[in-house]
């Protein structure tokens, strides 16, 4: 019983942090109606950037204090997000979904190659930003890093939700998410809104990378997180920030249960497969997800 609860807690925490990656999908989708397949690579590059400003700088003899390194990473991610939007997706505004899908795949391969070119293929230890170890809570052990990450995700999701429903800039982004022509007629710069979406999403992905990888292994393989978060974004609904959070929780717990009860029978395959099974199920039964925007049909 205690084992079960422990697994559930771990699953929920990991799921919440994956929810943060899912939110980065959601933010891009709201702005530009694009599902960025390369989001996992974006996340890895975010992590590599942080590594560069901490360990990498230390290796060449420059010691950058951690807060400054974090700020530098943030700035680099803002630039990185703006460059992707500007060079790859802005020229494709108005093109068919298929074109954009292919561009996404191209970007994925390009970024993977670029990361290998710049940082090499070897695995590194990711900078430990969050405290390691675990908190003793009665019979349970809770990973401190994950706990902080999960709480951070919840706070951030709530903040983003308020931003999109109350703030002037957020409402602009919400209007762009609804309909580009209507947004234009209200004097909203759609281009600016899309650029802001990409930048926000890139920063979110990098943040998720920092939390998820803190103190563990950093390599190009980590990009698979992107594809693990995609089912979460779909389940929550591609327009809903808080939906992504709840979906992260659901998938995290489901994965924990699967790894406990199904993995022994399936030699460890079930928990890895589960998110994608959920994804296909969602696409069949409720394509707009739990809280996504259903197209309102009026008679």
């Amino acid at each position: 019983m205690i084992n079960l609860l422990q697994a559930l807690i771990d699953g929920a925490l990991v799921g919440l942090v994956y929810g943060l990656v899912a939110i980065s999908f959601v933010v891009i989708y709201r702005g530009s109606k694009i599902i960025n397949l390369a989001q996992g690579e974006v996340l890895v590059i975010g992590a590599f950037l942080l590594w560069t400003f901490t360990e990498g700088a230390r290796n060449v003899g420059i010691d950058i204090p951690l807060p400054i390194a974090l700020v530098l990473t943030l700035i680099a991610c803002v630039i990185f997000g703006a460059v992707i939007e500007r060079t790859v997706f802005r020229p494709l505004i108005g093109q068919s979904a298929f074109t954009i899908f292919m561009a996404g795949i191209a970007l994925l391969i390009l970024l993977r190659g670029l990361a290998q070119l710049i940082w090499g293929a070897q695995t590194r230890s990711a900078p430990a930003i969050l405290p390691e170890g675990a908190i003793d809570l009665g019979p349970f052990l809770i990973n401190t890093g994950l706990l902080i990450g999960a709480i951070f995700t919840i706070v951030l999701a709530q903040a983003l939700h308020l931003f999109f429903t109350r703030a002037r800039l957020g409402l602009r982004l919400a209007a762009v998410a609804e309909n580009h022509t209507t947004a234009l007629s209200l004097g909203i710069s759609v281009r600016q809104a899309i650029a802001v979406s990409w930048i926000t999403a890139t920063v979110l992905a990098a943040t998720a990378a920092v939390v998820l990888l803190s103190g563990s292994i950093l390599s190009l393989e980590v990009a698979v997180i992107g594809f693990k978060a995609l089912p979460i974004a779909l389940l929550g609904g591609l327009e809903s920030i808080r939906g992504a959070l709840l979906a992260g929780l659901i998938i995290g717990i489901a994965e924990a249960l699967a790894s406990m009860y199904l993995d022994p029978i399936t030699s460890g395959a079930a928990s890895g497969l589960l998110p994608y099974v959920v994804m296909i199920g969602v696409l069949f039964i409720r394509p707009y997800g739990l809280f996504g925007w259903r197209r309102i049909e009026r008679l």
Binding site: T165, R168, L171, R172, A174, A175, E178, N179, H180, T181, T182, L184, S185, L186, G187, I188, S189, E239, W293, I296, R298
Partner: protein, 287 residues
């Protein structure tokens, strides 16, 4: 060459004649081309004076919506562009301005087809209208003003806009436009798909807003009777040109307008098809 020169010369003569000191918006010899080949507007001239309600009438495809989109810089989204002529608003050239500048300078358009932001609440819809404004107190005041003109809205604030009825949506749309503090409000077929009594009520409210706020209104309507009854000045478009324009009285007394737009001519006297006037312009406009 000669012909285009003549057009332009007459156009500027026209402007000279019509330009009072109260002119707010002027379209001078506007050409609009879609996709680089399809010409929709041909040398269109329109003038809107301060505090007037100006109505633009015409059949489907005459170029009314295109004219409005040319003013509010929304042609780009439809691959259209103004290829000739000048649009001035309060003595500033806005021919090639971007939509943000247009809204900032005080021109706000309500698009046709009830384009509410479907998944946002009514209150959010209204607040999006004020997104360029930084004066919180003024925004709150204007919100009260919108509630004053549309007393039904305060009860709907937290409803999802996409599930409102047509009449309620139209209130949200006009309210949202008012939140942007317009000087010139452009309405594209606000009564489309509304029940007759609702559309009458809507026209009354628009007229009330215009009167109380000193707003200038440019209106495109299919419902010619109500539109002409409310307007100060009217333009009639055909095939991308203005073919007739005049004050309310001039329009209502014009035989062609009576025949084609109001349907009130001596129909009872007709005894044979030969008497039925075919759809033909009475006089050609500066062809």
């Amino acid at each position: 060459m000669v012909r285009s020169f003549r057009c332009r010369a007459i156009g500027s003569l026209f402007l000279f004649w019509i330009n009072g000191d109260l002119t707010m918006l002027t379209l001078a010899n506007i050409d609009v081309v879609y996709d680089g080949v399809i010409q929709v507007l041909r040398s269109t001239n329109i003038e809107v004076r301060q505090g007037q309600m100006v109505v633009l009438l015409g059949a489907n495809g005459a170029g009314k919506t295109t004219t409005l989109k040319a003013i509010s810089a929304l042609l780009h989204a439809d691959q259209g562009a103004v290829t000739a002529g000048r649009i001035t608003f309060e003595d500033r050239d806005i021919t090639h301005a971007d939509p943000t500048t247009i809204v900032k300078s005080g021109i706000v358009q309500v698009l046709e087809g009830r384009k509410v932001l479907e998944h946002l609440s009514v209150l959010q819809n209204l607040m999006v209208g004020a997104h360029l404004r930084k004066d919180r107190a003024g925004v709150r005041e204007d919100l009260e003003k919108v509630y004053h003109y549309f007393p039904a809205l305060p009860n709907l604030l937290h409803r999802t806009a996409g599930y409102l009825s047509g009449g309620e949506m139209q209130m949200v749309l006009i309210g949202r436009a008012l939140m942007a503090q317009p000087k010139l409000l452009i309405l594209d077929e606000p009564s489309m798909g509304l029940a007759p009594n609702l559309s009458q009520q809507l026209f009354r409210t628009i007229e009330q807003i215009k009167r109380e706020e000193g707003l200038t209104v440019l209106l495109v309507e299919q419902n010619a009777r109500s539109a002409i009854a409310q307007c100060d000045y009217g333009y009639i478009m055909e095939g991308g040109r203005i073919v007739l324009h005049g004050s309310r009285n001039e329009l209502t007394s014009n035989q062609d307008v009576q025949e084609f737009y109001l349907g009130t001519s001596n129909a009872a006297d007709r005894t044979s098809y030969r008497d039925v006037k075919h759809y033909r312009r009475r006089k050609r406009w500066l062809g």
